[in-house]
Symmetry: C2
Subunit: 304 residues, 2 copies
Amino acid sequence: MSDPAPNDDATPPAEGLARLKSSLEARLKALVKSGPTTPRHLREAVRHALLAPSKRVRPMMVHLVAAGEDYLHLPALDAGCAVEMVHTASLILDDLPCMDDAKTRRQRPTTHIVFGEATAILAAIALLNRAFGVIAELDDLSPSIRTQLAEQLSGAVGWEGLVSGQELDLRGTEGVDPAKIERLNWLKTGVLFVAAAEMGATIRGLAPAQTRAVRSFATHLGQAFQTADDLLDVSATAAQAGKDVGQDLGKTTIVSLLGQDLARQRCREHLASADRALAETSLEPQPFRTLIGKFFGSLGTEST
Amino acid sequence: MSDPAPNDDATPPAEGLARLKSSLEARLKALVKSGPTTPRHLREAVRHALLAPSKRVRPMMVHLVAAGEDYLHLPALDAGCAVEMVHTASLILDDLPCMDDAKTRRQRPTTHIVFGEATAILAAIALLNRAFGVIAELDDLSPSIRTQLAEQLSGAVGWEGLVSGQELDLRGTEGVDPAKIERLNWLKTGVLFVAAAEMGATIRGLAPAQTRAVRSFATHLGQAFQTADDLLDVSATAAQAGKDVGQDLGKTTIVSLLGQDLARQRCREHLASADRALAETSLEPQPFRTLIGKFFGSLGTEST
């Protein structure tokens, strides 16, 4: 069985997903266009981090829930881009010398390596801030929907989300159990996955029961994704992963607690639970299954 | 003539302003309440920075424009708190070792000195993010107004605001002229002052002509404020200023370009222009004049 390779962009996804990804990347580029007086160094740092090769799985999730893969829906694309900006900001910060001190990310040197720490931090701030600006400017959606999207995104970054996850991760994870690790994974990865799906559900106007199923789907997928990422950290080379590996040495992860085989099994169980929840969402499942198949490889195929 | 002392909290402001300030501080505290699972270290870092002694001039500006000083208007208080969160986030970051490397701020050791760099950065992110969350949650205002406020705040932080100002400041200011320095001051200070005033105007529903006058008022006040801050940096002790002084040594500022006397004169001219614009806003001018008198001391008094 091959290892999950979430950063493997060599396999072309199905045509609809490929078109969606390239539309998302065009919008990302357009949404960070700066004025003539913006400092070039800062603008380049933002582009370096945001436009680097990436799976774009979070913005794809927003769009697939909001509008599927066939019809390109501009507000769904832009809301997805806002989520991708937040995710990219978190990667820039996680990689800083005072955090994980990583050298490579998305197949490029990390932002602080190329542009210096100060500019990297400012680029992260610019991205987080721009995400909320993009949401406020979604003129095709009612202000009430935009306000809900902003609340969902802010909730995913705040006390019950990314910043707390990163703080807990920095404080070390000695002596923790699988439940605590899953809580950390929830804060570091799951919350933003779920916010992406929920933002899609808000844009589509799904009923509460469907939205709950969407949340459950995204929760399991987020756990599977984080476990796959932990497996990648111990088994892939930096070139395969497109980022530093071995970063978790000395940290407790699902893999270090359970071993690779059990972690793989747990990943498959989460993917199976995700698929069951997907069936309850009333959304067309195929694009999601294609996306999952692409990113989890044979791990995903076996589980669905 | 005494030097401007923007950080002097010894002189009690007029009663209305004092009540407004204490209400703002109570709301700041309430708005960053965290859940039981939020990492304590992170929560304490946010409170350390946000609840430290401060003039609260930006949130006061929001409230005075939106609702005056007599009637405490909850959405105006909270929108002001959002601006104060953004301002505090920018102070935390400006003070980092890779930026200005400052040791004292708001009469306390800087956030990274007490909590470490990583947590300081996460605290800044938490505050910026919370600011947008607070605006999204302003249930007493229509979603359309909330969306406008989010756009105004995001505009002040982004390409044409704080992040660009800080990047330009880091890149050095050798060989620049007063016009370029005023552009830098505009990005670093003016834009957020003006956004605060404009957010107040949006909440109050001011007509376009009045909003233009409010913007002009805040623009001049912001320039006066930054010049006073530069004067403070060369003439006050750290204890008087409540933060590191001498930080601008080697940097070009209005003071280093024009000398202290001309800088003081320029500051007075901006205050006079601010007062003329204030008269055109149709807002009750007295609370603004009291606020300005308090912060600019005899410099302000002579100019009005």
